[in-house]
Each structure stands twice: as C-alpha cells, then as structure tokens.
C-alpha cells in the first residue's frame, strides 16, 4: 500500500486535474457564446433543475372533446356490429353520432325488442332511450362523460411524462391544471420547439386495409363505400388520397417497441408487437397476401405497402419519406404510447427557480459553512493527515461537479442530498483509514508499517460499504423514475469519486510526504 507505482501516481494526478478542469466552467460566470467556443477549456456546466434554476413552462390544453367524440365513435361501431350480427341482422338506417348520443332508426318496429336486448347493457355509462319503438338513442350519461374527460387528462399526463423522460430532459414538473389542462415545466432546455413538436403529436398508429374495390376518382367524387373512408398521405408528399377501410385491424397500442433504423440508406422505423398483436398481425397478413395495408398515423397514411407474404414474427417496419430526426421522434412517440386526445400549446413562458433565488443563496452559504466546519473539524482531529483528507475532499467535490457537468446530469435539491451523503461517506473512508492507522501506531508499529497496515485493513471495509451503497444506487437508477433517478445518479457519482479520493488521492499525499520526510513518528 505504501509503495505507489509511478503509473498509479500519474493516473491519480491526471484524474484529479481533469476533475478541476472539467469542473472549472461552473465556477466562472457564464461566458459569452463567442468566448466559449474560442477557448480550449471545456464549457459544459452542470444542468440545474427546475427547483434551482427554473426553465420553460408550457400550458397544454387536452382536446377532451376529441376523446369524447372518439368514445362515441367507437360505441357507434360497436352498435353497428351488434345490429349486423350474422344470422339475425336487424335492419336500421341513419346510424350516427348526434350530440352526446348514438342515434338510429329501425326499419321494422318488430325488431324493437331484439335491438333493445342487444343494446341495453352494451356500454357502461350509456342509457338507452327508445321512442315510437323505432327511434333509438344511446345517450352518454353525464357521469360517464366527466369520467372520460378526467381519464383522458390523466392518461395524457402519463404519456407526456413518458415522452419527456424519453427525450432525456430530467426532472420535469407535470401536473394537471384546472379541468382539462396540463402544466409542463422543463428545466432550461435547449430545444423547446422539439419538445412542443413531440408533445403535440397524438401518435395514434393503426393498421387498416386499403379498400381497392373503388377507384380513387370514384371515392373522391362522393361514391365512398359505407365501411371506408378517404385519408391522405402527409402534406409533404403532396397529399395522395387513399381509400381506407374503417375497421382498425391492429391498433398501435399493441406495440411494445419502436426503434429508428436504416434500410437501403433510408431512415425507417422498425417496431415490434406484443404477443396478441403479433398474432393478429400474422393472421391479417396471411389472409391478405397481395392486398395493400395502410399504416395510418394520426389519420394520415404514412405508407401503404402491398403484403408480399405473411409476416409472422410479430415485428415490422414503417417506411416513408422520413428524415433521420423524424424517424427518431416517431419511434420515441410510438414507444411512449399514443395520446388519448390531441394536445395544443396554450401558453409558453420562462419560469424562475421553484426554490427561489433567496433559498438557493441561503443553501449556498449553508453548504460553504458546512464544508468549512467539516474541514476544520477533520484538521483539528487528525492534524496533518486531516489536512490531507480535507484537501482530498475538495478534489472529491470538484470531481463530482466535473462528472455532473460532463454527463449533463440535472442537479436538483434531492441531488444535493445525494452529494451531502457522499461527502459524509468520503469523510468516512478517510476516517476509517486514519483511525486504523492510529490503532496500528498504538500497537507499536513503525510509521510506514502502520500506514501500510491501516490502508490494507480499511480497504475491504471501504470496498464493502461503498459497493453495497453503489449496488442500491444502481437499482434505484434502473427501476426508479424522475427524481429517484436523479438522486441515484448523483449518489453513484459521489460514491465512485469518494472511493477514488480516499484510496488513491489521500494515499498519494501520504506516500509523497513519507518519502520526503521519512518520519520517525506519525503526527496523528
């Protein structure tokens, strides 16, 4: 332990200096853009979280009316299916959504009882009203409507959170505001336009079959078959019309993964279904070889490939005229899931820090006082060795700041808690070593032998205690979300740097001192 090879000395010194260099941008006032790029010094600073520095705030409106309409439309198709039941078809006309109800008229009053029986308990929250035996109305109750609105907002919040998490913007604040709005606050982000674009996309992906029984011209002139609709390709492609069957064959919520990739140099999205989605997709493609599939995203046909062969593996690709950025964003929103309702940005603001400049100032002063007090205490307790430990502690802090800056991790109040803990643990590692050396001195060892034994024995303890905490931190990172993740990052960084400073840096100081002074007794 006391012999310290040259390469280890060099590595230790280099790491410590790199720490200082990479931490340095945080200690100077923000330089001008021009100055930053001209210098060779690193310019990344720590990202401070919303609570410490503020950021941008978006107020989104959830299109709950769309969610309600879609619920009504889906009940409409259920009604259609019920009435058209094979073998006992009930004649009807004028099936449509009318206000908050689905209405139709029976052709034959004799079917009234059959229709009533089939539709009475069709959907929770819908009441059946019948007049003159033939006029049917399935009315959405007020409670059902309120519940649907609320659930649309709640689902939207969940999806927004997932999308923001996927972009790597750490520690957002996402909360419901009022009845149908979502307040999203993001710590100092660089590309708010991208976030807005990502949040603005509903990302409802569905697989339909193309209806090739009519030509486009016929369809456009109004001669559209009952179960089909006219959809267009995205704007950039010149809005090519397609006749698409209304029935959703496989829905996008069956996707479990979507990744950007390339095919023949073109950016594409590859996706994977869950088991039942994969089975459904396999059956569909097996039964429709030679027909065309329509991949519909937010009511636009992104592509309409002809099915060459049954696709049984449960995965597929989406091609189209995409840019790399579009493919990345599309995979991201597909992974995060579709919004139950479209979101529109009502308002965009910059916001000040949640904790307030005053609290942050107080926090800074308190941290400095705490640090000075700790340093004084260690020096008084352990003398020269305490001073070495204190210097190592300062290097430790600079390493933490450097790593946070390089990784562009977001520092919030919980993150600071992680740092306080690691300072405690860094001090602990030094205390362990120094106490152990003291003990060995009392046992009558010579200085070099005592230091050697002290280090050797404290070594396993430091490894065991730090690894235990590190393992816990890694699990918190892997399985936690949001603030838990942020805490885990700072904690892991702190554990690694404090192990380094205690076992490499303080040791280097002590070894250098030993070689220079060759002391007869230890000042401990």
């Amino acid at each position: 332990m006391v012999n310290y090879p040259r390469w280890a000395i060099i590595t230790t010194v280099v790491i410590a200096l790199l720490g200082l260099i990479y931490a340095s941008p945080n200690f100077f006032p923000q330089a001008d853009e021009a100055v930053e790029t001209s210098g060779f010094l690193p310019s990344n600073r720590m990202n401070l979280g919303l609570d410490l520095q503020g950021g941008s705030s978006l107020l989104l409106s959830v299109g709950v009316d769309t969610a309600i309409r879609e619920t009504l439309e889906s009940v409409e198709s259920t009604v259609r299916r019920e009435l058209r039941q094979r073998g006992s078809r009930v004649g009807y006309s004028g099936l449509r959504v009318e206000g908050k109800a689905i209405a139709f008229r029976l052709r034959d009053a004799a079917d009234s009882d059959t229709a009533r029986d089939r539709l009475r308990n069709l959907e929770d929250g819908f009441e059946l009203e019948i007049s003159d035996d033939v006029n049917f109305r399935l009315v959405m109750s007020e409670e059902a409507e309120t519940a649907r609105r609320q659930s649309a907002v709640e689902q939207s919040i969940e999806i927004v959170r997932r999308r923001v998490d996927e972009t790597g913007v750490a520690e957002p604040v996402i909360q419901q505001q009022g009845q149908d709005r979502i307040l999203v606050q993001l710590p100092g982000i660089k590309d708010p336009e991208r976030i807005k674009r990502l949040l603005g996309q509903t990302a409802k992906l569905n697989f339909h079959m193309l209806d090739e029984s009519v030509s486009i011209q016929e369809a456009e002139s109004g001669n559209l078959p009952a179960g089909s609709m006219l959809l267009y390709s995205p704007e950039e492609e010149g809005r090519i019309p397609y006749v698409v069957r209304r029935t959703v064959e496989v829905a996008g919520d069956r996707l479990v993964d979507a990744q950007p990739t390339f095919q023949d140099g073109q950016p594409i999205v590859s996706f994977r279904f869950d088991a039942s989605g994969g089975r459904r997709f396999g059956e569909l493609t097996a039964n429709n070889v030679g027909n065309r599939l329509a991949i519909v995203l937010d009511r636009e046909v992104v592509s309409a490939p002809r099915i060459q062969t049954a696709i049984l593996g449960g995965s597929g690709i989406i091609t189209g005229r995409f840019t790399v950025q579009q493919v990345n964003d599309l995979s991201l929103v597909l992974r995060a899931g579709a919004l139950p309702a479209p979101l529109t940005v009502l308002e965009e603001r910059t916001v000040g820090p949640g904790l307030g400049a005053d609290s942050i100032e107080a926090g800074k002063i308190a941290s400095i006082i705490g640090l000075v007090a700790v340093v004084v205490f260690i020096v008084v307790s352990y003398g020269l060795f305490g001073l070495m430990a204190a210097v190592a502690l300062l290097f430790n802090l600079s390493l933490i700041v450097a790593l946070l800056s390089v990784l562009q991790a977001t520092l919030t109040l919980p993150g600071i808690a992680g740092i306080v803990l690691t300072i405690g643990m860094a001090v602990d590692a030094n205390v362990l070593i120094l106490e152990r050396i003291k003990e060995e001195v009392r046992n009558g060892r010579t200085p070099i032998s005592a230091i050697d034994a002290g280090y050797r024995r404290a070594f396993t303890t430091i490894i065991d205690s730090n690894l235990t905490t590190l393992i816990a931190a890694i699990l918190l990172f892997q399985f936690g979300t949001g603030p838990i993740k942020g805490f885990a990052v700072t904690l892991s960084i702190g554990i690694i740097t404090s192990m380094f400073t205690a076992m490499m840096l303080t040791r280097l100081f002590i070894v250098v001192w030993l070689r220079r002074r060759r002391p007869q007794t230890l000042p401990i």
Binding site: I157, R161, Q175, Q176, Q177, V351, G352, P353, G354, L355, G356, A357, D358, G363, A366, S367, G370, A373, V374, F377, V380, L413, P414, G415, A417, G418, V420, L421, I423, G424, M425, V427, D428, V431, L432, E435, K438, N443, G444, R445, A453, R456, T460, T461, D464, S465, L467, T468, T469, I471, A472, L475, L476, F479, T481, G482, P483, I484, F487, I524
Partner: protein, 325 residues
Amino acid sequence: MRLSIVPANTKFDFVSRRRLAYPLSALLIILSIGAFLTQGLNFGIDFRGGILVEIKTEGPANVAELRATVGDLGLGEVQVQEFGAPDDVLIRIQQQDGAEAEQVQAINVLKEALGDQVSEYRRTEFVGPTVGAELISSAIWAVVLAIGAILIYIWFRFEWQFGVGAVIALTHDVLTTIGLFAFTQLEFNLATVAAILTIAGYSINDTVVIYDRVREELRRYKKLDMPAVLNLAVNRTLSRTFMTSVTTLIALIALAIFGGSIIRDFAYAMIWGVIIGTYSSVFIAVPVLLALNLSRESLSAGADDSEETAPDASAQDMPDTTSDK
C-alpha cells in the same frame, strides 16, 4: 495538540444493552406505525396537488418576500415562482384539508394577505399532484429491489445473518424516519423522499463498516465468545463511528441553521437519520447477529482472508488479545 473525543481503548458492553435497545426500538417502531396509521403523512403539493394562483404585482415582484408572506399564513406548503415576467408570479399552495369551502377560504386568506401588492389576479385554479401513481409505485419497487440487492450482496460477501441484520437495521431507520414525519406532521414532499433514501444509504454504510470489523475480529479471536467479539468490534470502530457521525452532523447542522426554510426540513430529517442510523448500527444491527445464531463455522469459508495471512500482521496483534480479556 489533537482533539480526541473517543478515548483509545474503550471497553463498553454494547451487546448487553440490547435488553434496553430492543424494547426501545420496538416502541419507536410501534409509535411510528401508530402515528402513520392515525395521523398519516402531511403530504405536500408534490403529492396531493393544490391551488395555483397567478398574480401580477405592482412593479417587479420580490419573490423572497412573497414566499415569506404566503408561507406564514399557515396554509401548508407554498411554492412561489417568477413566471415569464418580473411582475408576474405563480403561487402554489397545497390542497387544504376539507372540502371546497376550505379551499375557497384559503384563497381568501391569501388574497387578504397579499393586499395591494397585487395589481391583478390572472387566474386561480386547482392543480393536480406532480407525483403520479405510476411514479409512486415505480419508486416503491425500486426501493424494494434495492433492499433485496443489498441483502444478497452482504450475504455473498459475509453471511446471511449479516444481510438480514443490515436489512433489519435499515428498515428500522426508514420506518422511524417516516414515523417522525407522521408524528411531527413535517411536510412530506419529494425532497423528503430523497432525505429518506439518503438516510437508508447512511444506515447501510454505517452497518457494513461495523460488520466488516465483526467479521475480522471473529476470524482473529477464535476462542473469545460471541458477545465479547461483538463488543470488541463495536469498541474498536467506536472512534470511527463517532467521528463520521459528528462530521456529517456538523455539515447537516450548518444546513439546518443557515439553509433557509426549504432546506431546513430536509436537514432536520437527515440529522434524525444520522442519529438513528448510528444508534441502530451499534445497538440493533450488531446484537441482532446473536439472535440470528451467527457462528464462527459459518464464517470459516469467508471470502477474503488476506489480512490474516499478511506477514507482519499476526505477530503484533497478539499482545492486545490479552488486554481484551
């Protein structure tokens, strides 16, 4: 001259104190669970949502002053944030206990207190929690898995008794900390969750350090009976236990005194955690090894014996064997 708080060769009988420590900890845990069940936690805005008020002030707003004013109204947790412009401020107060009427009441109290500082109330709305159900369940899962991993790692490096003992001490510390929050009705928010995780980290670290010494002394003193070895290990790590706790406490006390209102609650929780974590390592984690029937045999196949076989180590360790008996 050197400050030395803990004398060199202490010989306290820590292990017998378990007769006092066990009932005391049991009582603490029962009180904690009781407080949690009867009073519950005083969840802040993060967890329960609240009321959002956007105001425009006469001239640039003094956010610090506004926070102090609103904070003193006794409406629970308050967040004040500059919003877009210097004279535009977002105030969030936590949802008040009770029904609609209490919320309206709180808004009135707020408006009265702000008085003529405000030129316009731009909107007053309810806001939902920022910590959703999914976030809570994933956090709980993460913590459970982390505790499981700690158990397995310590089992692998030591023996199962140590793993179980460490998890008992950890659970003890976390439960009593949550109990403290239930009992004092201190604000329970996201920063508190971080504080509790930090306490858990401290507790584990402290326990493992002492366990490491227990393992070492068990291998060294083959003839000493178990309680004596445990006492020896605690006594020999006592100055380190004390030094580390005191240093961490110094940093935390500085945060509590100078850190302002928001950091203060957080620092209080951590101060409690350091005290309870140190106590549980010494008085719970170590004696619990006896109850778990830790034996030397189970350690004989220990992972790492290099210290014992180090050439110059054994000779000088012997003299102090006699002084311990």
